[in-house]
């Protein structure tokens, strides 16, 4: 939450960070983290629920499918031109087009979803986002009781601890 008071510690090693995170959470503090790569142990330590991106992507794919059906069947019926003695609505060829559109629209919604979701994440986790932990450092932010947080972070082997803001 923006403007929320808390303590930020940086780590060089994912394992250490993970341990610190566990300790902080054990102390009942809310913890956010930022990292250059999705280190499994750290993600696990944070123990947050899985992303619900699928709720956006799947409907997107379905939209693509409907679009495909509308486009192929609709345009064929709008002006019935017979080719090669095939039926006006010739399903097998249309399926191919419909499939491609499903994939296309699905992936594009997926893209939009991840960009928007990411932006919202960065906003909600402004404190830790500010640390720009994209290079060789892992940032861990603990909200609530600053003193306890700072102690736990130091014990956890944080290379640097500071209060934010």
């Amino acid at each position: 939450m923006p403007g929320e008071r808390g303590v930020l510690g940086t780590f060089g090693d994912p394992g250490a960070a993970a341990r610190a995170v566990r300790a902080l959470r054990a102390a009942g503090l809310r913890v956010d983290a930022a990292m250059p790569a999705p280190f499994p142990e750290l993600v696990e330590a944070l123990g947050k629920h899985r992303s619900r991106l699928g709720l956006v992507t799947f409907p997107g794919a379905v939209t693509g499918l409907c679009l495909g059906v509308l486009l192929t069947v609709g345009t064929s019926l709008a002006w019935r031109l017979v080719t090669g003695g095939k039926p006006i609505v010739s399903v097998p060829p249309f399926v191919i087009v419909i499939f491609e559109l499903t994939v296309l629209v699905g992936s594009l919604t997926n893209l939009v979803a991840v960009v928007v979701g990411g932006a919202r994440g960065a906003k909600r986790q402004a404190a830790v986002a500010a640390a720009e932990a994209v290079g060789d450092r892992i940032a861990v932010f603990a909200a609530g009781d600053p003193a306890a947080a700072a102690r736990l972070l130091r014990e956890g082997g944080a290379e640097e601890v500071r209060d934010v803001p």
Partner: protein
């Protein structure tokens, strides 16, 4: 909702696109002043009495100078309205010289379109449906876009009204040979 209806919706979309594509420009300036309003409107002269080939061939035909002469042998001036007399002068000069008026073309379809007035007139299509209210125009201008979508809109409709025996209405080869 039926596929047919959806199809119709798509068609409407493309048709509207068609109308967007074609904004009617103002009529071009003609070498001499000729008012369809006066001839076709006030005088109630039938279209085909000047455009004589409309019922018989692909082109409606531009009236021959002989045909102009036919009336303007007598209609030479208007004593009450000197301005009309003035307007008639250029025509009378041309008729005297025995040359032809080089009209500026208003309606034009591309060369790859085979359009024939004959079929449309015989089918009972009114001239105004494509050429607009010519009898109200001082200078004729193109009102219809004359685009494929615009033609098809009518052809599809006519075919939907009575499909039997009207297959040719929406055949490509009807207009593109």
């Amino acid at each position: 909702m039926s596929l047919r209806a959806r199809a119709a919706a798509l068609l409407a979309a493309s048709a509207s696109a068609a109308t967007l594509c074609a904004a009617a420009p103002p009529g071009p300036a003609q070498p001499i002043l000729f008012s369809h309003r006066v001839h076709a409107g006030d005088q109630r002269i039938g279209c085909t009495s000047c455009h004589v080939y409309a019922e018989r061939g692909p082109v409606a035909g531009v009236p021959s100078m002989q045909r102009c002469q036919g009336c303007h042998k007598f209609v030479r001036e208007d004593p009450d309205h000197p301005e009309i007399t003035a307007q008639l002068k250029p025509l009378l000069q041309i008729l005297k010289a025995g040359t032809a008026v080089e009209w500026v073309r208003v309606h034009r379809v591309p060369d790859h379109v085979y359009f024939t007035h004959e079929r449309h007139v015989l089918a009972g299509v009114r001239c105004q449906e494509c050429h607009g209210e010519v009898e109200r125009m001082e200078v004729v201008r193109q009102v219809a876009p004359l685009t494929m979508g615009w033609c098809l809109e009518c052809h599809h409709r006519k075919q939907r009204e009575r499909p039997v025996g009207r297959e040719r209405l929406t055949e490509c080869v009807t207009c593109h040979k």
